[in-house]
């Protein structure tokens, strides 16, 4: 306990130092206030290095070879799904066949409700006149998501087997997860060829970190009893892995799979900038001609696809193998495949005979884009709404965001570094503090300090708001099974509904101001806060809450003194995810209009300034990883104290 309070003291001293440095700002030597602007030097070195990597080392040939393999697979999928003129050069499968097959798969995996969801989703896509775009998107996803799952699983197993691999992989993953999208864009285009291949590589890179982490976590948690049982029954190492460890870690692997699918679909719009065909590209084109209604329809499609794929894949993994009595005829044993075959033949033939079942033409589609447009515009123009949002805009911008922003910009560089170091020390002791000090000093040395501060301001504000709004929601939802389920649905939707769509209404209501930026980040950031808080609260052992009830605690006392403290390590993981998400979204918010690192990154796209782009990207990475380390250290400490 003494060492703990000494920690606290050092941290507090550092915070005091920060305050003193800020107060004495006018007296400080200028170097302590702001370091010189060194970024042109770093950019130059990076450019040279990139050039060497790409041309002299010839890395580009290796990546291009990998890309062509991936490209072949995607082309096959593209031929089958929408008839792209590539091998095997078949005609596209009719929409009715795909929808019917999805329904059959849904039925056998999870009963009629899943059948309805899967069949209904694809029918919706066709009837809305979005079939071709959906299939263009799917042709990349059906290759990228399984690749992401497999690579993630293998790396996860590897990092569980070898602690050296884990220690190398951990920082690499942290960098991959926090490297801003605008930094991926150019290297993906150069090394993997603009088009579906670059898009799928970007998708895989973005979607696998949770898969790797969850696999490793799951495998580590496998109880020794299970392992013993496996060894006693004489399993080989391969059998141990496939029959004992992986099934025992199924829950975590499933969460990983869910995240791979959700993140793949979340990337559909962004990857359209580097060649992802289909829904995302259409959505961007619609937005640029101000068609709100039709972009909402596309957003609904993306959410439906995400939910369907998620539920189907989960059901597939959960489904137990069926066992039949000896002597069961083969057509009963293979009933599902037979039905699927029959459905395939029937609908493909139907599609060939009745064009409607092959392709729904634009005039037949049920799209009501322009009607939705009118409704949305009427709602946005409605005076009470305008009055409320006008007030919120004024209040938050003028009284909250702008003053805190200016305050943060006023703090001298070394004052802020002291504050961050102190914060890290309070959270987790010396190690995070050293990392915080080194990383934030590096941000200062990179030379984008003011912009970095604006980025930091937006992320931290949005995360705090997410906690203030999200935690009560989660606490309320965790009370009942039904509310929990609904809330999870809302989370899935918020995570996959393309954020681009609500950017437009948000701008119409709040203008191009910091409030809109915070709002856009907030919607995305609340998801992990809500999800992990629910998870944490529901994971509190029943004995504990019962003990609290027996000792006569009120609901409030039970929540504050028993449930929340026990759930805190899990909530901290959610908080950490929230911060990482907001570091991701704050860069995307450059599409609204910001003045931070994201805006400068956008500027580097004109003229392909790779070096400058990376100095900006790494400023984001360094800040994000500092928080990642500090919060994880804190969660770990709590977990130990609670004996979990």
């Amino acid at each position: 306990m003494t060492s703990f309070s000494r920690h606290a003291l050092t941290g507090l001293w550092l915070l005091v130092l920060a305050v003193v440095l800020t107060a004495l700002k006018p007296l400080l030597p200028p170097v302590l206030d702001r370091l010189p602007v060194w970024h042109p030097i770093w950019s130059h070195y990076l450019d040279t290095w990139f050039d060497w990597l790409q041309n002299d080392l010839g890395l580009i040939h290796v990546t291009r070879l990998a890309a062509s393999g991936l490209g072949f697979l995607i082309d096959v999928a593209a031929n089958l799904l929408y008839g792209k003129a590539r091998w095997p050069r078949l005609e596209a499968i009719p929409w009715s066949t795909v929808a019917a097959l999805a329904a059959v798969a849904g039925y056998y995996l999870g009963g009629w409700r899943l059948a309805l969801l899967a069949g209904g989703t694809f029918t919706w896509c066709a009837l809305m006149g979005q079939w071709k775009w959906t299939m263009e998107t799917m042709s990349v996803i059906v290759i990228a998501a399984p690749f992401g799952f497999l690579i993630g699983l293998l790396l996860g197993i590897w990092s569980w087997k070898s602690s050296r691999v884990e220690s190398v992989l951990r920082p690499v993953l942290a960098v991959l997860q926090t490297l801003p999208f605008f930094t991926y864009l150019l290297p993906a285009v150069i090394f993997f060829k603009v088009g579906p291949t670059a898009a799928s590589v970007a998708t895989i890179v973005y979607a696998i970190p949770p898969m790797i982490l969850m696999t490793a976590v799951g495998l580590k948690k496998v109880s020794s009893d299970v392992v013993e049982a496996g060894k006693m029954s004489g399993c080989t190492r391969w059998q141990m892995l496939t029959r004992v460890y992986l099934p025992a870690a199924r829950t975590e692997i499933l969460i990983g799979l869910n995240q791979v699918i959700m993140l793949s679909l979340a990337m559909v719009v962004l990857t359209a900038f580097i060649g992802m065909p289909g829904l995302g590209a259409k959505l961007l084109a619609m937005m640029n001609s101000f068609k709100l209604g039709r972009s909402v329809e596309i957003g609904i499609t993306i959410v439906l696809l995400a939910v369907t794929l998620d539920r189907l894949s989960k059901a597939l993994v959960v489904k137990q193998p069926e066992h039949f009595e000896k002597g069961t005829p083969w057509w009963i044993r293979h009933q599902a495949w037979l039905v699927a075959g029959g459905v395939f033949v029937f609908f493909t033939a139907l599609g060939r005979m009745v064009p409607f079942f092959n392709e729904v033409s634009r005039s037949q589609s049920l799209s009501v884009g322009s009607e939705i447009d009118d409704v949305m515009k009427a709602v946005l123009d409605w005076d009470p709404i305008q009055a409320v949002t006008g007030f919120l805009r004024y209040f938050f911008n003028v009284w909250v965001l702008v003053p805190t922003e200016n305050a943060l910009l006023y703090v001298p560089t070394f004052g802020l570094i002291a504050a961050i170091t102190g914060f890290c020390w309070l959270m987790g002791g010396a190690r995070p503090a050293i990392i915080g000090f080194v990383f934030f000093t590096a941000v200062a040395v990179l030379g984008w300090w003011d912009r970095a501060m604006l980025t930091l301001h937006s992320t931290v504000t949005a995360t705090l708001l997410a906690v203030i709004i999200g935690m009560p929601l989660a606490i309320w939802a965790s009370r009942s099974e039904k509310a929990t389920r609904r809330m999870i649905y809302v989370c899935d939707t918020a995570q996959t509904f393309p954020s681009f769509i609500y950017l437009l209404p948000a701008i119409m209501l709040f203008g191009i101001t910091p409030v809109t930026v915070i709002l856009a980040i907030l919607i995305y950031t609340m998801v992990p806060v809500v999800r992990y808080t629910i998870e944490g609260l529901r994971g509190v052992p029943a004995e504990m809450t019962e003990a609290a009830d027996m000792s006569g605690a009120t609901r409030w006392q039970k929540l504050v003194n028993v449930q929340l403290p026990l759930a805190m390590p899990t909530i901290a993981v959610g908080l950490n995810q929230a911060l990482m998400f907001s570091f991701f979204m704050v860069i995307i918010a450059a599409f609204i209009g910001t003045r931070d690192l994201g805006q400068e990154m956008q500027r580097t796209l004109a003229g392909t300034d790779l070096g400058k782009n990376f100095t900006l990207g790494f400023s984001v990475v360094l800040m994000a990883i500092t928080f990642d380390v500090a919060i994880n250290a804190w969660a770990e400490k709590k977990r130990k104290l609670l004996g979990l």
Partner: protein, 323 residues
Amino acid sequence: MIRKFTTTLAATAAAVAICLSASAPSLADDSSDPIIIPIHNWSSQIVMSNAVGQIYQSMGNNVEYVTTDSQAVYESVRLGDVHLELEVWEGAFGKSFREALEKGGLHDAGDHDAVTREDWWYPMWTKEACPGLPDWKALNECAHLFKTAESGDKGRYLDGPVDWLKHGKERAEALGMNFVVVNAGSAAALWAEIGAAEKDKRPVVVFNWTPNFAEAVWPGEFVEFPEWEEGCDKDPTKGPIPDKLYDCGNPAKGYLKKAAWDGMKDKWPKAYCVLTKINFTNPQIAEMAKLVDTDEQEPEEAATNWLKANESVWKPWVEACSG
């Protein structure tokens, strides 16, 4: 040894090619590999790309489209991953284009007749509140009309995304204007801002360009700044204020170019020849955008319909290259 052999072979091939081209002006046949055409996220470019793609298909070529970012695309053309670009706007993409040109791998394939203009713009209802428009001095006197909650006493001008390199801020400073300059992050953000101002006819001044779809939805005018002089962005003495850069409006007649991958000429000589002949005008581009934005056609069918209605425009381009 092998290298020497290949050089000899190449030299012979070149000699044969020269002889052939001297004797008959016809071009070699195009490769059957697909010509990859990049499409971006605004309608006129999408329709134009589809129209050109369909022209190539009518010549027997294979065509594929790929969606890309409109700045990063020049790097892809340079590397030969996509093979041409049909809309190189002087203002927005000139820098990316020029830098890719310096690195090598792509070249200028000629201008369209269409001219582009990108500048400060206001929807017509703004003029009612500030009748002196379109003169920039009148705009400056009405600056208070453009105030927002965050802009203090000054008016707010909404500039284009930073990667379009528009220098609105520099201009406001050079001309001593009473305006705060805020950058929108995307074209969509600009439209949302105009759309929000529409109902109350709130005066706004934003960045806009022509040709695009907005002209049809919200009639408006460009602000008239001191006329562009060559070098206004590099030489302080140009323009009305002797010691400032950016004290002029943007060029009122910016170019709209086509760009081609260097290898296109050899791989698809006929298609390349057509590319150099392709030439659209402002009304044609506006028409293409309208088919999609107002008439709600899909870009593919809009392109087909446009080609059907305008055979006299594009047939000569193909004929000039098939002789």
